[in-house]
Symmetry: C2
């Protein structure tokens, strides 16, 4: 790799290339369980630099792994085979904001919340809201088709991507998509790039469809003694024509986690459902919230509170908001790992799936919570385990496999918003078994030397616990 370093420094400049071990270590992991050292870290500032890096890498068969904030949960940014980690965070300019065309153009290193901060005075926002919004980049969101708690109303990243500029494996720059919401101009390649996890090209710029900021918002919370009732309420709310801007579930494990960590005093019930509506007309928002309340009541929801007061809404959402960090403090010696973490299932199967998750966890000696954006069919789970014990990784592996077998049986899919990469790939390959060859054919066509984020998705190892080192001190035996 030594000869590479000089070439790369000639392209992006001395200070934006590093193969110092301290730097490589920083770039060796993301928010997943995986860890592997890159050979070198490169921080391009322009499209031309990205093109030159790709030409060099393609000619020399060096893997290139594009990286945003490194907040991915499945190992997207982990350089399983070494090579160049391309840190895209320096390409962080907001290039154009065109309220009259309801779009903006950005470089992919722009951070999601920062974009929304800049858009606010224009009366618009970019709707996807991953909970890592304060750090995650638009590029990373495109790579995984990120969504978040408002996807139930506003869709996922792919629904707001109009066009992309992409540097291909050979360094060619292509413009995909358009500036218009309506687009039937042949192959929808911008949409193919969304969710391709850096394996088909390096996305460098994006044209994003904006949404007008809603003027009014109201929120509510309901407790359910039976998970089935919560599940039926969720399915009913969605299918009767109300489109909440948020519809979240917390199961009993999630409730316990928040109470233990924060002493919030949430009720000891099977499930809590939190709902929000937004819009331009106060009466309409009020009408929708009242309707959801009635639906919750009809399905034996209790302790229902609704409010449009900002403070009260913050209080309602507090437990859900702090759930993710709370899970890490669930029990002494337990760590919350992002495994099997974001399946999506048909709306009517949410309660069944949550119950099955609890059963699978129990018989595999791990603790699992289920929560998330149920209004769009998404269930988040985390596995709380002792990561220092090798046997717990075997437990986790069995649990993941069993949960996904169930998810596929009920018509669900592996990932709703975090993507596949390494830790979800073995199960996902079972789900997608008949189209893996098709994906490989497309990958070969666009990246014949397999340099773009290799060994992910359809080419990932079959045992995720052995795909890379695990970023925990696992005591063998």
């Amino acid at each position: 790799m030594k000869s590479d370093i000089g070439m790369l420094k000639a392209i992006v400049g001395e200070s934006d290339v590093s193969d110092e071990l301290a730097d490589l270590y920083v770039y060796s992991s993301d928010a997943s369980v995986h860890q592997a050292l890159p050979s070198v870290v490169v921080r391009p500032k322009t499209i031309e630099e990205v093109q030159q890096v790709m030409r060099y890498a393609n000619g020399n068969r060096v893997p290139v792994i594009a990286r945003g904030a490194g907040s991915g949960m499945s190992g997207h940014a982990v350089p399983i085979d070494g090579g160049i980690v391309l840190d895209m965070k320096r390409m962080n300019r907001i290039l154009e904001i065109k309220p009259e065309d309801i779009l903006c153009k950005v470089e992919v290193g722009v951070v999601n919340d920062e974009l929304n901060r800049v858009l606010k005075p224009y009366g618009f926002f970019f709707p996807p809201t991953p909970s890592s919004g304060n750090i995650c980049t638009i590029g990373g969101m495109i790579g995984t088709n990120a969504s978040g708690n408002r996807a139930v109303k506003y869709g996922a990243t792919r629904d707001s991507v109009l066009g992309l500029k992409v540097v291909l494996a050979n360094g060619d720059l292509v413009k995909l998509g358009s500036n218009t919401r309506t687009d039937a101009s042949g192959y929808q390649l911008a949409r193919l790039m969304v969710g391709s996890e850096g394996t088909l090209g390096i996305v460098v710029e994006a044209t994003l469809l904006l949404s007008p900021l809603p003027k009014y918002r109201a929120m509510g919370i309901a407790n359910f003694d039976k998970l089935e009732d919560a599940g039926r309420a969720i399915s009913d709310i969605i299918s009767t024509g109300i489109t909440p801007s948020m519809l979240e579930l917390m199961d009993s494990v999630a409730i316990t986690a928040v109470n233990r960590a924060l002493n919030l005093g949430l009720p000891d019930v099977a499930a809590i459902v939190i709902f929000e509506c937004d819009g331009m007309v106060k009466e309409s928002v009020g009408h929708d919230i009242a309707n959801i309340r009635k639906t919750c009541e009809r399905h034996n929801g209790s302790g229902i509170t609704v409010s449009d007061d900002p403070k009260e809404m913050a209080r309602i959402y507090e437990g859900r908001k702090k759930l993710f960090p709370s899970l890490s403090r669930y029990g002494e010696g337990l760590v919350s790992t992002p495994l099997a973490d974001d399946m999506a299932v048909p709306m009517s199967k949410i309660a069944d799936c949550v119950q099955e998750i609890h059963k699978v966890a129990k018989r595999n000696n791990v603790i699992m919570s289920a929560y998330g954006h149920c209004g769009s069919g998404l269930i988040h789970t985390k596995i709380m385990m002792d990561p220092t014990k090798e046997s717990q990784w075997e437990d986790a592996k069995r649990a993941v496999t069993e949960i996904y077998e169930y998810v596929y049986k009920i018509g669900g899919t592996t990932s709703g918003e975090h993507g596949i990469a390494l830790s979800k790939a073995p199960s996902w390959k079972v789900e997608k078994k008949d189209s893996l060859e098709m994906m490989r054919a497309i990958k070969r066509a666009l990246d014949p030397h397999n340099i773009l984020n290799p060994h992910k998705l359809m080419d990932a190892p079959d045992d995720w616990t052995k795909a890379t080192a695990l970023r925990y001190n696992v005591r063998r035996g």
Copy 2:
């Protein structure tokens, strides 16, 4: 081809294969200007039959052109190189309707309006609304990413396709996408298939996201003496957070056409804008309609009428509804041809583009109207010309080229909802010049023998007037 016929009859049965000239003639054209005879017409009834036909065709290098209703405007279903036209209309079963999961599963030969008739009692609809809805099939809509006048609120076909079953060129059956709205499970291949115009696979089944039927609807109409005012009103309506369910424009040529054909007495103005709002709450719909009215007034709209009375709404929409057939009766000896017919432009550029269309028409000796779903940036045009004169085809060709040059200059794209195929391909290849090789690589990867709807899109001839015979009696010279 004779030996093929026997093989094909063995696959789908004697009565579902024909090479009679009368049949071939019926399948030689669609709603475009193009015409070319297929070698044989095959009407499969099952996925297995499609797979066997593809295996046979792939082995023998016979082109296969999937066909829905043949209502495509650009030549998608015209078998430019002969081969098998695969009439998908017999695969017309609605397989499942799952209101609890807000989805349905259909074979692709199902007609759009028929699907909506069946969905209505469940309280749902499939939102794309092409004006050919009474004949067009779900498969054809997927092939072109069809949308229609409600795309401004409900999106295009791709936004409502969750999953697909597709038979690949080699006969393999693949399941793409999922049953869930939220999907980050790797490559978004179902979305790649949408809009690929039968060149990457034969779509046989689709899982469709449904929308709840709105309970209330209101409509309005406004006249504008200046096109710019209408354009500003449209851009303003969209960017201030109101989402109309329809926002349509008719220019002066369109108004004249309707008045001549139907004697409707529409006012002699530069533009008419028709708007509709729908929703679950009467007050909210009323609020939105009132707001749009105010926006039209602010931009010098006159004669504004709004109503939620079904009869009055039908009257408001009558001119727009009958515009397409009216254009064919615009003038003695003139025929309305679907050329340059559905560009999409950034919202703020609609008025400029309509004015340019008029200028281009004038200097090229043709008459062009501009109308359409401006709320989503779509402009429909038709060229009214004497199709028996060879010189008029040269006029039309110049006009099409010049209009698209302008469309690209203002950031627009070739097709908003009808697709590319043959007659839009030469200009579209200019728009997409830097990604044509990428498309060809994907096409080769999935269809190495180039049997799926060959010579369309990136492989279409460079002169659309000579791509096939024209389906008019053109007197040479």
